[in-house]
Symmetry: C2
Subunit: 320 residues, 2 copies
């Protein structure tokens, strides 16, 4: 896929990955609707296989490789969810997955990669270290690089999330997605604007990792420099492909504080009884902290993932 995917491409990708992914439920919550004065529809990619939307793009790439391309395996660098998803997809195809992870990656995400038989190499938590380590492994193994978002096959895969949401819920006024590297947000915009041109597409981003916001303001990519946010899935910077789509199709990028992220995560856990990771909480955070007015609106929210280290909670329970 060398050019921006169209809706027909995204539908083909969806048909290709359907055997491997969950059609995740869309949940609603009356008490959160009351708090926000809106109708919110949560697309639960935290309930996706490997706990995040990333499996959509990863399965699309892995299963669109020829046998010849696939046999030496796949390589990637990822702060976590893409790594788990690619390892899972590779294991399903019976090929090796070589994974470069920042040494700061959450333990729960490292464990997931290991469980799906991904072979991990740790590196420093910078984009440069991640890319150079991945390059080295690429040369050593002859495997295929699968970038977490700088790849239209990945973007088209992530776009199937919004495709399903818009199939399941009519007449959405807005759709919100988190933005890190921009794969999910750009895929969301491609699907949503094609299916429903009047829809408003909003990206939500931590203030502490506001590179997408600043890039769109500036009109060119401004990479993230050593961002620190609890939303560990949103540390990466846009690439040309995602920047272009977001610049052209996304209506607004909204920034949220760390406090707002934790609060939105807690409200989701308590009210909806589902586990979302901090990165998945940025959209509700934008609404609850009044960064975005949704009063009277019908809003789709993509809950991107649910991989959280729960050991603090359970060590407390075990001691009790």
């Amino acid at each position: 896929m060398q050019i921006q995917p169209k809706l027909s491409d995204i539908k083909k990708v969806h048909a290709c990955i359907v055997p491997y992914i969950n059609r995740t439920p869309v949940l609603t919550c009356q008490s959160i609707d009351r708090m926000t004065g809106s109708e919110l529809y949560f697309k639960c990619e935290n309930l996706q296989k490997a706990g995040a939307f990333k499996g959509r793009g990863a399965h699309n790439v892995v299963f669109s490789l020829t046998d010849e391309e696939a046999k030496k395996g796949v390589v990637t660098h990822s702060s976590g969810n893409h790594a788990g998803a690619l390892s899972l997809a590779a294991s399903k195809r019976g090929i090796p997955a070589y994974i470069v992870m920042p040494k700061t990656a959450p333990k729960v995400k490292v464990t997931a990669v290991k469980e799906y038989a991904g072979q991990i190499t740790f590196c420093e938590p910078t984009l440069e270290a991640r890319e150079s380590t991945a390059d080295r492994i690429l040369k050593e193994t002859g495997a295929v690089m699968v970038h977490p978002y700088d790849d239209y096959r990945i973007i088209a895969g992530q776009a199937t999330t919004a495709l399903e949401l818009l199939e399941d819920v009519d007449q959405l006024d807005m759709i919100l997605a988190p933005v890190g590297g921009g794969g999910l947000l750009s895929g969301t915009a491609l699907s949503a604007k094609a299916i429903r041109p009047s829809i408003c597409v909003i990206g939500c981003e931590p203030e502490m990792a506001d590179d997408a916001y600043r890039s769109i303001q500036a009109g060119h990519i401004i990479p993230s420099v050593n961002p620190k946010t609890i939303a560990d899935g949103l540390l990466t910077s846009l690439c040309d492909k995602t920047f272009t789509i977001i610049r052209d199709l996304v209506d607004e990028i909204v920034l949220v504080s760390e406090e707002a992220i934790i609060n939105a995560m807690r409200i989701t856990w308590e009210r909806m009884k589902i586990i979302i990771e901090p990165s998945a909480a940025v959209c509700l955070a934008a609404i609850l902290s009044n960064k975005l007015n949704v009063t009277g609106k019908k809003v789709g929210i993509i809950l991107s993932g649910g991989n959280v280290d729960l050991s603090v909670f359970f060590s407390y329970l075990e001691k009790k």
Copy 2:
């Protein structure tokens, strides 16, 4: 409803409560299936309104009262989830709910009652204190007593959980439900055995609150005496109605340790990304601790609720 509900009664109750409850999703989890060598279908009553199956019975009672009966409100005693559910149902009908709660009830359940405008009176955590306090309020207010399970209208309401599960999943070999007072388990047995006579119905109970197990063994009700278990929804004892149904229709009651409950709860949170309370973890605990052989079987599991106090986890996050 003066006699044991039949399947036709349960279906009528379902039609009556459908406007007020969620048709909760049935989720599956490949990694837990792999661990257990079985196919497990989780009926997610943790995603029910007010976070537990209890809303089914409560709405049935509240909406089957005449206006004359309803106007002075409803009274109950409950360790938590029935209290929240009854408060919610009463608030929807616009009548008062008077709630007697043991002073040891989890804060999150107390908060839920307050949010639904239930009027709480705290008492000692014994059945006797709960009943005598409720009796007093009953006399003072003229409200209608709604027992959490000693009521066929409640049992028929809880029975709609298994009704939906068996509508959604064919050919189940077994169905598992937690047992406290026995409302859910007896309702489950009534629906499941009527729809699919060959199904095996299993009750799961904490070793530390094993009164249902001992009652069935003995052939008469042996009340729980000051039980202490993390499964705070399973502290109550059977009543005649639930004892009789369970004795006649439930194939086995399986006991699980506290450690097994916490482990099953953790695995559910981590793998399925949903929040279940300890009481809801007893069924998976029975399987994972090899108290029940499910190899090769297709098994329905009722996840009864998801009301857990999350403050430990979030105070940790906020401090970070």
